[in-house]
Symmetry: C2
Subunit: 138 residues, 2 copies
DNA sequence: ACAAATCCTATAAAAAAGATAGGGTTTGTG
DNA sequence: CACAAACCCTATCTTTTTTATAGGATTTGT
């Protein structure tokens, strides 16, 4: 399951996508819209900013806004940023690869093989669906 | 990612599948084969037994053995048993459904829609691939 | 000058996962 | 029968991860 962090990120991005046009929205407004703790959301938005997805403006009239075109923000990007690997086992992760400690030989591991298949099917959706697809359906 | 519990379950099932023919194998032997703690694995095998996937025999010459035909053990079954939901958000889980607290209206939630798609693609693999597929590739 | 708002980092609290402990029960064998 | 082998069961402990909070620093508009 996705962490709350990631889910909240998606909701916040959706909120900002609806506001649109680089108009800054307040953390406050987003957190109230979804009943998310202000401070928790603050950390999340900051990460999204550092990743180049959001921009921000300080002081009165400030807030966060979407920098990227929603159709250029793949779901996979957000998940990887906040949750880490998408794959179900580390030994088939593309971005967070690690050998499985209990596995002596990856080449002859049957689990490895089927998990590659699962990963590919997940990525097929998550890399191709974007924030724009979420917005379109709201 | 899958928990270690689930990964270990897959490895243990593979081990037992290779032994085959309802010949009981010792916890000890499985745990040594993969470097898994004996006691931790014991709990896992017990759960698999309670779920009707494994059988066991006590006393000398005892152990655990596969009750089911490997091709009747879908990967999804093992994951759900030990890890819970396969879906990435609770509001699209088939077996562990829960509404998302931050979501006011599921019907108009864009995230919900794309996550149904992800879930279906995952299930398409996980319901159709079985222990037999893992065994075949080892 | 002041207030509004983000920025930053640290820490606390809660939950989940991983691991261990230890006695109970069943069963084969001499 | 006695005994040892092996699973059965449930509780607890430890570690890690996740979730949440705290509090001051910095920037900016009026």
């Amino acid at each position: 399951m996705l962490s709350k962090k990631t889910k909240y990120a998606f909701h916040a991005l959706t909120f900002l996508g609806k506001v649109g046009n680089k108009k800054p929205a307040l953390i406050q407004d987003i957190s109230e819209a979804y009943g998310i703790s202000h401070k928790f959301l603050e950390n999340i938005l900051l990460e999204l900013k550092k990743a180049g997805i959001l921009g921000s403006k300080k002081g009165k009239g400030g807030g966060y806004y979407l920098i990227k075109d929603p159709k250029d923000v793949a779901l996979s990007k957000i998940i990887r940023l906040l949750d880490g690997p998408i794959a179900l086992v580390p030994c088939v992760s593309i971005n967070y690869y690690e050998p499985c400690i209990e596995c002596k030989d990856e080449a002859t591991c049957g689990l490895n093989k089927v998990m590659i298949k699962v990963r590919d099917e997940m990525l097929n959706v998550l890399e191709n669906k974007t924030l724009a697809d979420i917005l379109e359906k709201e």
